[in-house]
């Protein structure tokens, strides 16, 4: 199939008078991880609900491998795997029973025993889901998403509540899926996850796309149109005014006693210039730290710091 695994074009969705999605477009490509980020209530879950055929958007269009997930659900669902944030697992059942049952719903399912082994589910596969830890349930949820051997996977908070070992296991599964050409849509609040795993990022807020691009593009590593790195200098004493004036040439300066933070202007070889300023004014720094913008910084800049 040459068509895109997922193409969401300008969809809108309201629940009564409340607008959940106003204008969201999104694509997912084979062998790439596309992170969908946004604060709570931004419209991520509604977008995904439309994409997987749980809801029909009121306007716009969605196609999965060229088919409409709402009108051609059984065919698109054969190609799609979904890991829900709330698990989607019957509490009284056992993981192995659930996975075997889900496998029966697909034409060409994965080998359940193999999946159980890959995700380390074997040790608790015969325990009821109610008795599993959050991390164990997450792994069963991931297995449920993969049991149909999907070519497009939606992962909603796949590492929430996982210990470091389980996170590594999930990372490896995602890398394996990507290497096998599976398109992955990752919804997460964990910016480190998105930064580490995503090839492309779309940030939505208030039901609209507010940023889109690669992680490097959004954090400014390969783009001088966005602010550059931040320098944090800790001195022994307060800095002389002349030094602060010189540092202000490099960017926006914030002073908190002996701690100076400089949001450097883009496109400047800031390390050398700032150390040059320190040398000129004979200032010894107790510490000097340069940090590029993280995806989390960019996310907060885009969506604000207010609680939703």
């Amino acid at each position: 199939m040459s068509t895109l695994p997922l193409r969401v074009e300008r969809i809108a969705l309201s629940y009564g008078r409340s607008t959940a999605v106003e204008d969201v477009s999104l694509t997912a490509e084979e062998g790439r991880v596309h992170a969908l980020l946004g604060p709570n209530g931004a419209g991520k879950s509604s977008t995904i609900a439309c994409a997987v055929g749980l809801r029909a958007p009121q306007s716009g269009s969605i196609s999965i491998f060229g088919m409409d997930p709402w009108t051609d659900h059984s065919r698109t669902a054969e190609l799609t795997g979904v890991m829900l944030q709330d698990g989607g697992l019957p509490m009284s059942a056992r993981p192995l029973t659930v996975l075997r049952h889900l496998a029966r719903l697909y034409r060409e399912p994965a080998d359940v025993d193999d999946l159980v082994g890959r995700l380390g589910i074997g040790s608790f596969a015969s325990r009821s889901i109610r008795r599993l830890s959050g991390g164990q349930r997450q792994r069963v949820g991931l297995a449920a998403a993969l049991v149909g051997r999907p070519r497009l996977v939606f992962l909603d908070e796949p590492t929430a509540g996982l210990d470091p070992q389980a996170r590594i296991a999930v990372d490896e599964v995602v890398q394996d899926l990507r290497a096998a050409g599976t398109a992955i849509v990752l919804t997460t609040h964990d910016m480190a996850d998105a930064e580490r795993l995503a090839d492309l990022v779309t940030v939505i807020d208030h039901g609209r796309v507010i940023a889109h691009g690669t992680v490097a593009g959004l954090t400014g590593v390969d783009d001088t149109d966005v602010p550059g790195r931040t320098a944090r200098i800790v001195l022994d004493d307060d800095a002389p005014e002349a030094a602060l004036i010189a540092l202000a040439e490099e960017g926006v300066v914030h002073v908190d006693g002996p701690v100076i933070t400089v949001d450097c202007r883009p496109g400047i070889a800031d390390l050398h210039r700032i150390t040059g300023v320190l040398a000129t004014h004979r200032l010894d720094a107790r510490s000097l730290e340069f940090r590029g913008k993280s995806l989390g910084d960019v996310f907060l800049e885009l969506t604000g710091r207010n609680l939703r």
């Binding site: 055929g53 669902a77 799609t80 829900l84 698990g87 989607g88 019957p90 449920a144």
Partner: protein
């Protein structure tokens, strides 16, 4: 929709019900206890609920079959669906090739499967308690069971798809008690109350089953009432049921 997937889902849910202690208590044990209680004692006579010429075991069997339908189709399925909804099970299944409609058909299939098990067990027990299998109108009994299940499951699913699971749990259990005690399921009450109850699903189901099992006749008006309630419940569920 695909019949193979729906059957798989119905089988999965049937096994889940039969393995669940609470569901088993509600669907099989309690109806069995009621059958033995009403069939072996004079409770029905003392309540003036024994029609002239009828045997205790006939009235008890008809009533208990109705209670069994209410147990699995309304209370059991309502509670199960409400918690499935809470834990995202319905949404997860709806994203598979089974689809949202397949999820509901699978649940209906499970209700029918459990109903077959209940009916077989309760009729066996009734036979052991003295029910003559020559007297009932079996087609009428089957029609009443199916129409009653359709009416009650539609309202049970509507309740599960609109209320919180805790509320569904409380309401479904309370209504089960009311249906069995004063709703006309187990026995008919004379007067205005009895007439009123026969216009509601439990009363109509009880009446249709008593006609079939005790009188050996099909109660078409009661079946019509059940069909109307089934249609209303289905339309309402289609309009208001939410998977979220």
């Amino acid at each position: 929709m695909n019949a193979r997937r729906i059957l798989a889902q119905a089988r999965f849910e049937t096994v889940a019900v039969l393995r669940n202690g609470e569901q088993l208590l509600l669907a099989l044990i309690l109806p069995l206890i009621i059958l033995i209680g009403l069939g072996r004692t004079d409770v029905l006579s003392s309540l003036s609920a024994l029609p002239e010429g009828a045997e205790h075991i006939q009235v008890a069997t008809a009533g208990v079959l109705g209670v069994a339908v209410a147990s699995i189709a309304f209370t059991g399925q309502g509670i199960q669906t409400a918690f499935d909804r809470r834990y995202g099970v319905l949404r997860q299944l709806a994203t598979t090739p089974l689809g949202a409609a397949g999820v509901i058909w699978g649940k209906l299939g499970a209700v029918l499967c459990v109903l077959v098990v209940q009916t077989a067990l309760l009729l066996t027990a009734a036979g052991l308690l003295g029910l003559s299998f020559a007297d009932p109108h079996w087609a009428g009994t089957v029609l009443a069971l199916l129409a009653g299940a359709a009416a009650l499951v539609s309202w049970g699913v509507l309740m599960a798809g609109t209320l919180r699971p805790e509320a569904t749990l409380a309401v479904a259990n309370l209504l089960w008690v009311l249906m069995a005690s004063v709703g006309g399921l187990l026995f008919h009450r004379d007067g205005t109350w009895g007439t009123l109850m026969e216009l509601l699903p439990p009363g109509a189901l009880g009446s249709a089953l008593r006609s079939a099992v005790v009188d050996g006749a099909i109660a078409w008006p009661s079946l019509l009432v059940l069909v109307v309630w089934a249609i209303l419940g289905t339309l309402a569920a289609r309009r208001w049921f939410s998977f979220d």
